[in-house]
Structure formats: C-alpha cells, structure tokens
Symmetry: C2
Subunit: 241 residues, 2 copies
Amino acid sequence: MEYQPIAYIHNDFPTKFGLPRQSGLSEHLISQIVMEKEYRNPDAFRGIEEFEYLWLIWCFEPMGKRASSENNSAKHASSMRAWSPTVRPPKLGGNKRMGVFATRSPNRPNPIGLTRVKLVRTELTGDRGLVLTVAGADLMDGTAILDIKPYLPYADSVPDAATGDYGPEHQQIMDVAIPDDVAALFSEEQLKTLKEVLSFDPRPGYQHDPDRVYGFAYGGYDVRFKADDHTVTVMEAVNLE
Amino acid sequence: MEYQPIAYIHNDFPTKFGLPRQSGLSEHLISQIVMEKEYRNPDAFRGIEEFEYLWLIWCFEPMGKRASSENNSAKHASSMRAWSPTVRPPKLGGNKRMGVFATRSPNRPNPIGLTRVKLVRTELTGDRGLVLTVAGADLMDGTAILDIKPYLPYADSVPDAATGDYGPEHQQIMDVAIPDDVAALFSEEQLKTLKEVLSFDPRPGYQHDPDRVYGFAYGGYDVRFKADDHTVTVMEAVNLE
C-alpha cells in the first residue's frame, strides 16, 4: 500500500537529538503542521477545534515531495525495509533488549510513528491554507505526516495501563541551568521549550560522563551542554548559520 | 512510501457492520493477530507482556498478500486515493458535516486506522509463530496490520481531553434480548461479545424505524435484529455456510 505525505512539520528542531523521546512530554514544544497543496481545503478540518488533542501518524524516514517519493516507493516495494527483531531502548540504559514491537523504536518494519499532540490553534493563511499549531510533538522539522485524527478519550485513554519499565517514574526530570548570554539568543517561548527538553535529559541512558559535552541543533544554534546526576548545564550556543 | 502488512487480524466479524465504531468499547471482542512469515520470530515481541494495552495501526482497505499488494501499490502510487474533505459521521445522526481530519472516518487520504486493544495473551504456536490474542479491536476479520506499538499512558493517555460531540455520553448503551435458540448457536464467549456489540446499537444514527430488520455476519451466522429506543432484540441467526 502506497502512503503519501499529507503535511510536513515545521519547528526549531532540525535533528532528532534533543527532542523528547515520546510525545506529550513537552507542552511548550510548538510545531506547525503545513498541509500539502491538495489538503489545504479548510473544509477538511471543519470541527477540529472541538478536540483538545490530536493524533499524528507520521513517517520515521525522510520523505520528499511527490515525485521523489514515487521513486522511493518503487525501491521499497521491491525490497523490505531493514529492521531488527530486538532493540536496546536508550532510556533503559542500553542494556536491556526488547522486541521491537514492545518498543516505539524507529527501527521497525513499517516506519510509522504515533504522536499525541495538543491542538493550540488553527489559522487560515493566504499562501499555505489552513495551518495547525500543535504542542508536544516529538518530531523533527520536516517530518512527513501521513494522517491526523481527533483524540477520543473513551477509546484512546487508559491512564493506568501497565507498562513494565516504561512508567513515568523512569522519565527523569533534571534541573536546567542556562547562562544569560545563551538565554538572550532565544525568544521567551523558545527558552521555555529549551528548558523543558533539557529537563528530560537528552543523553542516552548509558552515558553518564559529567565532563562530556553534548550538543543538539535548536532554532539555528548548536546548544552545547553537560549533565551530572541532577543538573543539565548549558555551556554555549553556537550559531549554525 | 510503501507499507507492507506485518500481520492479519482473525475474528468472528467478516464484515464491518456490527463492529463497534471505535476501539476499546467492546472488551469481550477477541481477535487474534497472526504475523506474516518474516515477523514470526518471538524475539520481536520480547517484553511485550509487560504492557497491558497495545496500539494497532492498520489499513482500512483490503490488502492481499505480498504479490497482489505490489500490484495495488503501483496503482496507488500513480493516482491519489479518493477522499472527501467532509464526512457525516453516522453516530452524529448523519446530519452534521465534519472535516475528515476531525473524524476517524475511513474515507481519508491515507487509509490508516488506529486502534487501542488490550493484550490478553501471547502464544507460541508451531505453524503460525507467536500469535497475539487481543480484546477490543474494532477491526474486521482479515484486516491488515501495519504496526504494533506498546501503549504508554504518560505519552498516550489524556482522560479528560475535550471532544465536542464525541464524548462517551453519545455512546448509547441498549438493552439486548437474545432468544434461547439463537443463544444456543454460540459459545459463551461469543455470546458475551454479541451482547456487547449489540448494546452499542450498530444501526446508523439516522435510522430509527423499530420495524426494520438489520443483519450482520458474526461467527458464521447472519444475526438479524430490530431495535427500538431502548432495546435491541435479536430475531434469528441464519447459518451463512
């Protein structure tokens, strides 16, 4: 079955590193969903404001626009995608092997992601049609969206579902220190997002060297930080442009 | 992007009519997920028992096995699927037009469905590898599964999310009457499922003629029923074989 992008995500994260590992953790992480031309009809979204949350179904792999996507699809149709039966989730310390279907790892047979986002607003623009602004997406800039569905609590929500090692107690919340000169580079909203994503400790779970400097791209800067057991400290932000 | 079925659903519902309109409503509706050959490695499911619920991402359209799927995909790649910007959800009485992205309607650009199911058990079989038994799927027999992901409450669950007209108060629960001779045709488990799905009133929201007889296929029988405002009454069950 051939699936086509219906929209692309736009936000301040050009790469995956630094993004929260699951959706919904970062309420300040704002993204815009810009529909592809054939889906810019505002009628397709009639009533969507009645819903507070949406599901995004998206593609883990870069997807070009239509023409190149058709070339890719021919390639994919003839040979199955590489996948691994087991993966080692970074947040479990990288030691525990889990079956890929017991994880949300991107390394799976069909590169389909599932993310719950908060609908912040809809806006009818002149050139890009109806644009959705959403909060909490764990998607990097340019991610292709395959579907948008309303969130229905009675069908979708199970607050107490058992999850083994994946409970919220395993989502460490760190203190975050950002020097003033770095803070001055970002808008107030960007700064909130930055603090939030750093509080989730973007380091892989098996790396604990407090002297190692990590970096990720955010809003046009390479944000460099260290972390000990309790605090993420931003060192500098280097302009990428 | 070309997506391939990783598994197919097996249950007692050969057609869509009669199935609950959303997942999770029918806790007795049992389905088995039988993996395609290349995914029968039990390692791919290691640790899945730690999770109480799973997400199924599936395809609204019939998908054949690999060979025919490739033919279909060529067709789909060259022409976009028919879709409609607005739909009239049956449960809203068929009068209110909603944008397709504000509904879970199957009539959408990419035929992707999303269903939350309870994991009942996993079983290693000789001929079909690891088979998952799940409860609450709103999928008909033979539906192609594209992905299986664990349910993570902290990322996925928002019990109080606003939903306009789609709240649980709009899920009418009917009394159900099944005569003994019909009940005798089904197993105890099938009978529970049958009562449950009938309690959701499978009729379209805009049809209220108490004398009209409806039928749907379940477990090899055409189950025929009438309904008034409070009660669904099964008339007979006709063997389909």
